[in-house]
Amino acid sequence: AQSVTQPDIHITVSEGASLELRCNYSYGATPYLFWYVQSPGQGLQLLLKYFSGDTLVQGIKGFEAEFKRSQSSFNLRKPSVHWSDAAEYFCAVGAASNRDDKIIFGKGTRLHILP
């Protein structure tokens, strides 16, 4: 079965600074990878996803993520954060195999933005 780890529980960056949120996964075959964002009091919104092809994936709100198979990672990046980016970010992994039939979510990284 697949698993996902987000090593950072909290991240604080200044507005306008660059951002990288880490995500490592464990799965024996090609995974489906997702990043979701949850603003306070809201449901989850899909930022981007990787299924196959180009390993650099562009998402909404200026986010991108890079799939690195050799490192089992799918880190989320943004070149310049805005105060509205303060939220909880969840990395998730799904399975391309019929043997594993659900998405597993990481524990989340809460992003704080300093003015």
Partner: protein
Amino acid sequence: SAVISQKPSRDICQRGTSLTIQCQVDSQVTMMFWYRQQPGQSLTLIATANQGSEATYESGFVIDKFPISRPNLTFSTLTVSNMSPEDSSIYLCSVEGGAGANRKGTDTQYFGPGTRLTVL
């Protein structure tokens, strides 16, 4: 992407009572999912609900505690029965969607806004 609504958005309930949460989708979907998000935690899948069949529950969740209905392709309910303070959580429904979705629970999911439940 699908537009999903949930009712109620929040509720405060007494121990021992039950609450039914509704999830409505603006399009027909095969698979609907119910998740629990306990305070400060990630999402945990409770069950998968397919129309026309009984829900499939994940380890640690049972039908007596979390009965689910799926009467048609756009609607589902989750009941939290005989509640205790440990049931205080956000409950989210989601659907699998997108063109070419593999329809087996591991594709892109779209989430409702959640129901914030507090049990006293």
